[in-house]
């Protein structure tokens, strides 16, 4: 047991002077390190989609919309995602039985206009 006294953390503080900092400077030059399993923007494969709309039903925020622009026989599927509403929980990926929805590691969607947040997948 060490003795009591002030300034006990000095040892660690002085050691850290000679170590690389744990933080990185981001502004202007840095990049975001995205972890392996991080849930980012959705990816949509229209060929696999059967228009069951389970993803729309399960989406907690109503961010995703599946639209069939073609006819029932000849499907022309489209998915529209409101990134501003999406909470990246990826429940839709879990709900999709056909695997037409997956998530990517793309996380950078900042935009100055509200309209830009609605994207077609």
């Amino acid at each position: 047991m060490e003795k009591k006294g002030p300034g006990k953390i000095a040892r660690d503080a002085l050691k850290n002077l000679f170590k690389d900092p744990a933080t990185t400077s981001y502004a202007g030059k840095g990049t975001i390190k995205v972890e392996r399993g991080y849930r980012g923007r959705l990816q949509y494969d229209p060929s696999k989609c059967i228009n069951c709309r389970l993803c729309m039903k399960d989406c907690p925020t109503g961010a995703i919309t599946i639209i069939n622009e073609g006819t029932k026989e000849e499907k022309k599927m489209k998915a529209v995602l409101n990134v501003g509403h999406c909470i990246f929980c990826c429940q839709c990926v879990d709900s999709c039985n056909k695997g037409s929805l997956t998530f990517s590691q793309d996380v950078d969607f900042a935009s100055l206009n509200k309209e830009d947040l609605t994207v077609e997948l």
């Binding site: 006294g5 002030p6 300034g7 953390i9 849930r39 039903k57 509403h85 909470i87 929980c89």
Partner: protein, 403 residues
């Protein structure tokens, strides 16, 4: 701003104040540096989550419940999942239960590290604050790589967990917690020997054993007052039925006791994670749960990092719940805070409030953002125009300036 009544000064701490992470008002009446009265006002974060849950399906609710609290999101979603699983009568695979425990303990680690950091910041001990947050970042990275997000991991689903726990994840976790264990030992050493820290924490925010019982304190606040009340031990759930958990208590009953309890709890969590990874059974990670939940009512309890979480779910046989009620640990501790603040000193107010690890969102839980048209959100151009107009009113024409 100040009301002077003879020698008394009323100081408003909040709704915005550097020492509060979230809005709440503490109206502190001072006599010199001494606090003679404290009135707590909470409710700024009332978001109507419980009402929102009633008009959504269970699967949608799961994500709302997860967002009741930013820190103990897993504890809330576990309690909710347990309620649904009990109502439907499905048996969750043991592997899933183990994964839930690992995530829960990682969450406890990052919550307590966060607490230790903010507590040190409140008393102006910023170096320790930076160190603990540096370590916390590693755990958040682990959560991001396993769960998929740093805070709202979304690990739970009804009937199990959503992601397979692979070899890389477990080796990453072991590596990180080994490193963390070393650091925790050092933090404990510092907490016990650093005189400036001890002098700021000892005897501050006393809540005696009797008072703690009387006010229904939970979590580390109760544990520091010598009350061995921990749901993991009192009513083991999930994999805690198999994993040994050592109950941590302390009899100091002050902020210092709470600090010690939290550091010891972190060391205990490290042990639990090691045990759970070593003894994790194989098998499925989830079973299917029907969309319609049979009618009934259920009350589940979970030990969140801050204390006891109670979830009440009443279903009426449809795919939407009839009533969901979330009781967060901070709610139980508010009453104690009022008591702790009185007779303290102004300098102790922030640390006393911080010592219960208050989570205002949790407490207030319950307005949902409607995606209606009447919400007044300005985009960049509108905002720019607004500021130009505002300055014009002040007599400055920004557009005329040549820069």
């Amino acid at each position: 701003m100040s009301e002077t009544d003879k020698n008394k000064v009323v100081i408003p701490i909040g709704p915005q104040h550097p020492s509060l992470d979230e809005p709440a008002t503490f109206t502190i009446t001072l006599e010199g540096e001494k606090v003679v009265n404290a009135v707590i006002g909470v409710g700024y974060n009332h978001r109507g989550l419980e009402k929102a849950c009633e008009s959504r399906t269970y699967i949608q609710d799961l994500y709302i419940i997860e967002r009741v609290c930013g820190i103990c999101s897993h504890a809330h979603s576990t309690a909710f999942c347990m309620a649904i699983e009990e109502l439907t009568g499905v048996k969750v695979p043991m592997r899933a239960e183990y994964i839930r425990v690992i995530v829960a303990e990682l969450e406890r680690l990052h919550s307590h590290l966060l607490w230790l950091g903010t507590a040190c910041h409140e008393i102006g001990y910023d170096t320790m604050f930076m160190y603990t947050w540096r370590d916390r970042e590693k755990i958040l990275d682990l959560m991001a790589s396993y769960g998929g997000n740093r805070i709202n991991y979304g690990v739970n689903t009804f009937g199990g967990v959503r992601r397979e726990f692979d070899e890389t994840t477990s080796s990453d976790i072991i590596k990180t917690i080994d490193e963390l264990d070393e650091h925790l030992k050092r933090y404990m050493e510092i907490a016990l020997t650093e005189t400036t820290l001890v002098s700021r924490l000892k005897g501050v925010g006393m809540l005696s054993h009797e008072d703690a019982l009387n006010f229904g304190a939970v979590g580390p606040v109760a544990k520091a007052a010598g009350i061995g009340y921990d749901i993991r031990v009192a009513e083991p759930y999930g994999a805690y039925k198999e994993i040994p958990v050592k109950l941590i208590t302390d009899d100091r009953a002050d902020v210092y006791g709470r600090t010690v309890v939290r550091i010891l709890e972190m060391q205990e969590s490290v042990k639990i994670i090691r045990y759970a990874i070593k003894n994790m059974p194989g098998g499925d990670i989830a079973v299917k749960v029907p969309r319609r939940i049979p009618a009934g009512e259920i009350l589940t309890r979970v030990e969140a990092p801050r204390g006891e979480n109670i979830h009440f779910v009443r279903s009426n046989g449809t795919d939407m719940p009839d009533r969901v009620r979330v009781k967060a640990p901070t709610e139980a501790n508010w009453h104690g805070v009022q008591h702790m603040l009185k007779s303290g000193r102004l300098a102790d107010v922030p640390i006393t409030i911080a010592a219960i690890d208050p989570c205002y969102s949790c407490t207030d839980r319950a307005i949902v953002v409607n995606s209606g048209d009447n919400i007044n959100v300005m985009d960049w151009k509108q905002l720019r125009q607004y500021s130009i107009d505002w300055y014009k009113k002040e007599g400055i024409d920004i557009t005329a300036l040549k820069l």
